[in-house]
Structures are given as C-alpha cells and as structure tokens.
Symmetry: C2
Subunit: 364 residues, 2 copies
C-alpha cells in the first residue's frame, strides 16, 4: 500500500475533462491552452496533449516547462519580464503577451520577430475574492484605456483578457462578453486573436457547453479573430485528491482527527481563502479533520462517517489538483506528498517522492 501523504491524479477523470475540451474546441473553433499557474504536473501531460492546443504561463520557468514538457503552442505571459529573461522567453514562445505598454516598449526590439499581445483589463471580473480580482482597485494587471490600446494596434496581433474566476454561470459570461464587445469592439476588430483567459468552469456538470461554443464562435466571427481560452481549473477539476492517514484522534468539544498532512503545506488555498476542503460526508460520526503542523488553524474541514474513525484509517480529500500541487511547500518539515497517478487500468504509479534530502537542501 502506497505510503501517505500523496496527491492522487486520476487519468480517467482527466480524460473525461479532455473529452469536453475536445467538444468545445471542435464546436467553437477556440483554441485551449493549459494555464500552468494552476496545474503543472507534467507526468500527466500525455493525457492532455492531444486535447489541448498548448500552454500559457506566468513566468519564464512555467514558459520553459510548457515548451519542453507540453509542446505545441506556447503563450508567454508574465506580469513583468526582467531584462535578463527576455531573450530566453522569446526562444520558447510562440506569442509573448505583455502586461503593460511599458513592458512592450522596453522589449520592443527584442520581441519584434514574434507575435505579441497585451493584457487588456476590462475593468470588471467575476471574482468574489478581492485577492483574486484582477479588476480590484489599484490593479496592476493589464491595460484598460482603449485609446491607449489603439496606439499599440500596429505592434500587437492580439490581447489576453483574463477576468473570469471559477465562473459556472454562462449567462453571466455572455453578458460580460457583451460589455467587452461594446467597450472594446473597435479595438478588437484590428486584431488577429483574442484570448479570453481562464476561469470559465465549462467542464462542470450541467454546464451548457453548446451555448458557450456558439457564443465563442459568434464572438470570433464578429471580430474576425482566433479565440483562445486558457483553462486551468476547468482542465483538471475533479481529477485529483490528497490521500492521508489518520494519526491521532482527540476530543475537545468536537471529535478531532489528526492526519499526516497540513493545509498550509499541502493545500494552501484553504488557508488563504479560508475555505474548507471538499470531503463527502455520510453517516453520523462527525469529525474535524486537522493537519499535523504547528499551526492552530491547520484544519481541513468537518466530515461525517458511517463508522467511528480509527488510527490508521485513510481519508481522501477532494479537489486537490488546481492551485494545490503548484503551491506545496516545506512548512514545518511535514513530508511533502508524493505524486501518484491512477492509470487507466486502475493501477497506481508512484511518479515522484520527496524526501529529507530535499527538505534539507531547500534551506541551504
């Protein structure tokens, strides 16, 4: 039995998402690029490569990873490139997308020979979290002044507009896209391509894929552009869990189960966004599932079971793919979860284990 903790990525679930990806690409004509900021576990890229058009990135390292491990089309975006990065970035990229006109100016000569874009900030978004809202006050993300954008129309061939965040409401998406058409249409029609970014939850259950495809197709035709999507979560939602073992059982007004993992080290967004882990409850034995780090608030959430828990029981914590493995860290020296793949035949492949030497070496 595989030693916990480990992230378990299920290829068959990934394939199910990829089937929807194919359907959307086919029906809409849009290209789909995996957003590596959300998920960069390259040992499963072979299950994704035939069903997506490439990758997009947030840094030089993600760009290189996308180029080398995924291949196909590689979009290079970064909030800011450093002088010493730009030549290497250009060497990997099909398109480079600048966050600001000032970055485009700075690297104008060095990027004259590849397709370029700018990030357009439409001034609104679907994010309910201020932390994740690109249209928050004083946002540094993208250009929003359409007059200014027009000045760059001859130097760029497209724009990236990332403004959705786990948006599972097609009507909201469509209405907001209409605003973009109205406010930026005169500029968009000068372009060859428009990326609508990520954050559209189109692989979710009951999402009206056909409507989305038709909407994207109409948008593409209206402005004569190639549409890109940059799915992160939508590509890998529901495909991974964090597998843990119960180490101790306590009681302090509630029953507490301590597992061999930690929210802060292994599932950081639960802490940052103060959310609870996705765990299915069944039965009447309720426990608070807690991590083993020193942090008082290291709590995954509450869950009920049919039988009382025992030390040694294994638990599966859902929703562990997106923005999870990419943020794992050595807080408290808690053993970093291995990366395990559930193959299509159900067998498990241990593809990466992290040990003491790496913990030591992370500090000096």
């Amino acid at each position: 039995m595989m030693e916990t903790p480990y992230y378990l990525i299920d290829r068959s679930k990934l394939a199910a998402n990829m089937a929807k990806m194919d359907y959307l690409r086919e029906a809409s004509g849009a290209k789909c690029l995996l957003a590596l900021k959300c998920f960069a576990t390259w040992p499963v890229f072979d299950t994704m490569r035939d069903h997506m058009d490439g990758t997009t990135s947030s840094s030089l390292y993600e760009l290189k990873l996308g180029h080398e491990k995924f291949g196909k089309e590689t979009h290079a975006y970064s909030v800011a490139w450093a002088d010493h990065e730009i030549d290497e970035a250009v060497s990997y990229a099909d398109k480079i997308i600048f966050n600001s006109a000032s970055q485009l100016e700075r690297f104008d000569n060095k990027t004259a020979n590849i397709k370029r874009g700018l990030r357009l900030n439409p001034g609104f978004s679907t994010s309910g979290f201020d932390l994740a809202d690109p249209s928050r006050k004083f946002s540094r993300l993208g250009e929003w002044d359409v007059e200014k954008l027009h000045l760059y129309a001859d130097r760029i061939s497209g724009v990236m507009i990332h403004y959705n965040c786990e948006n599972d409401d097609f009507d909201k998406f469509s209405t907001q896209l209409e605003r973009i058409e109205d406010e930026f249409g005169s500029f968009l029609q000068k372009l060859e391509w428009v990326s609508l970014g990520g954050g559209i939850h189109f692989t979710g259950e009951n999402y009206p894929l056909d409507k989305l495809a038709a909407r994207l197709k109409a948008f593409a035709e209206k402005f004569g552009v190639q549409v890109y999507l940059e799915p992160g979560e939508a590509a890998i939602t529901g495909t991974a869990s964090l597998e843990v073992t119960v180490l101790d059982l306590l009681e302090n007004e509630k029953k507490l189960a301590i597992v061999d993992s930690s929210v802060e080290a292994h599932m950081l967004d639960l802490l940052i966004y103060r959310e609870s882990a996705r765990m299915e409850s069944e039965g009447e034995h309720a426990y608070m599932i807690c991590g083993k780090s020193c942090l008082a608030g290291d709590v995954f959430g509450e869950r009920s079971f049919k039988e009382p828990l025992k030390i040694g029981d294994r638990l599966s914590i859902g929703d562990a793919a997106g923005y999870t493995l990419v943020k794992k860290n050595w807080f408290n020296g808690v053993k970093m979860p291995s990366i395990v793949i559930k193959e299509l035949d159900g067998s498990l492949t241990l593809c990466r284990e992290f040990g003491y030497d790496e913990f030591e070496s992370s500090h000096g």
Copy 2:
C-alpha cells in the same frame, strides 16, 4: 552584483540577537532551543550554536535537521507521529514531547528509554490571530485537564507549554505565567523540566530582559524545574531581508512598482495574515510595491521614497527571516530567492541558488 531575488541574512545582526540570548540564558538559567518551524536556514547555524542549547522541532524532518545540522540538545515535538516515524525520531531526540496522551500511550514502549514530555495547553494564549491561537475553540494542541495530566506524571519528566505569540509585553507574560503557576502548579512540581515554548519577543528593543530573567529564575526555583524557552522569531528577528529589483512601473490611481518576487511564493505570511511588509518610508514619492505573480492581491505594501523609482532599482523588504524562508514555494514558477549571507566583514556569500531544474522536478 548578486542577481535578485534573494534572502539576505546578516550574521552581525544575528550575533547581536545571540548576545541577548546569552545574557538571558546566563541570568535566568533557562535553556534556549531554536524553533526550526520558524527558521531552519542551517548555513548560519554556526553563528547561533554557541549561544543556544539546541533545537526543537515540529516533524521528523525538522528533528533530523536539528540533530544533524545544529546538534546539542534536540527536542522532538510533533502534533502527531506516524507509526513508521517513531523509531527514527527516538534515534535523534534527547526528549520526545507528545501532543496528546493518546500518542504517549500509543508509543509508550517505543519511547520508554528517553525522556518524555507532554504538551500542556493552559487554555489561554497571547495570539491575536485565531489561525495562530493554540487555545482556539476545538484546539487539537496539547492536554489541558490537570487531573488527566497527573495520571501521566510517572511517565513524563516535563511539559511544553507554548502559548505566546510575538508577545513583547513582559507584564502580560508574567501575569499569564502566574495563572499557569496557580492552575497547574501542583502538577508542575512533579516535573524535572518545563518548556515555556516560543513567542516571547525578548530580543526586541527595550524589552526588559532582566525582569524576564528574574521571572524565569523564580519560576524554575519555585517548582524545582529546568526551564526551557523555544525562541523562533526572537532568535532571528531583524536579521534578514528579501532583496528585489523593480521590473516595471505603472499607474492606476496610485503609482505601482512591480518587483521580481511574489508575496505568495516568497513571503507567504503577508497573504495569510493579510499584513503589509516591513519597509521604511522616507520622502514623498509613494508607491505600492507589488509582486509579479498572477495573483491580483500580490502586494507587499506601500512605501515612500526620496526620489522617483526607476526600473532596475533595488528594494529591500524587511522582516524576512521568521516564517518566511520555511514557506517559500514555486507558485507561478517565480524564481525562488537565493539564500545569501552577509558575513561579518560585510562580504556576501551566495550559499544557495534555486533554478529551473528544481522547479521542473517539484512537479514530477
């Protein structure tokens, strides 16, 4: 010039903290163990080793690091040990401190030959953050029932009571220690040692070290125990900065400077506790200092300068030692800061650089 980003650890500042450490140890008789959960950058342990009595830990890996890289006395604490860890833990530890009576029971035989302790939760703390408050409702940290503790008096030789958090108020410390004396005194006098944990900010400016020393000495004499402290932040406060470079300058109601780092990847607690980085302002040119990750809320804080910033300017972000390097991660593939030591003669030693290969290898 050293390429940014890098954490810069200053040996002379560390030595200044160590002088206070020596003073307190000498005057109080208390032993001081470095809390590795806060700071584990072992290349500077040689500046600390002669002035502290050893280390304490939160996991098997921290325990091993303390044993191998620091030496001297090694306390082994963990919220929960796994069955497969306990023999190895005993092999490194001078004392093993269990979080719960159930863990002590579980590993009673395997730990019979070394000194043992339990964590005592006094039911109050100084933490202003629920997340970091060990006495929060439903806390899983330690035993609090004095009747239950008495049952284990013959199997343990001491307790660890960690309930302070950046407490720079001596009177508050003293009053709370009085509560501990009153409520747990009958139990404490059965013990050989009592660790009062970390979180006492005794290396801060104007902290009344003499009063603290006298108070600890009186406590030790009253109960006939060896007192331990487990300083984390107090050992390394003010000794490190995060050195970054300005990559882009924008304006969106405020002036924005984007630097080659990221709060989430390199200074995580600013995000978790929603705080601003420590940066000294001088002058009238105000900027919001922002990270380069995709996160909309990747903001270090606001700072004013005498002159307008230029691209390429270097900034120093303070307070980067405690709970900072131990949490760094590869979010967004932002280059992980190198670890650089400022030697006593002012020269800089690059002691660790993190590159693309490690980013790639963190994912598979």
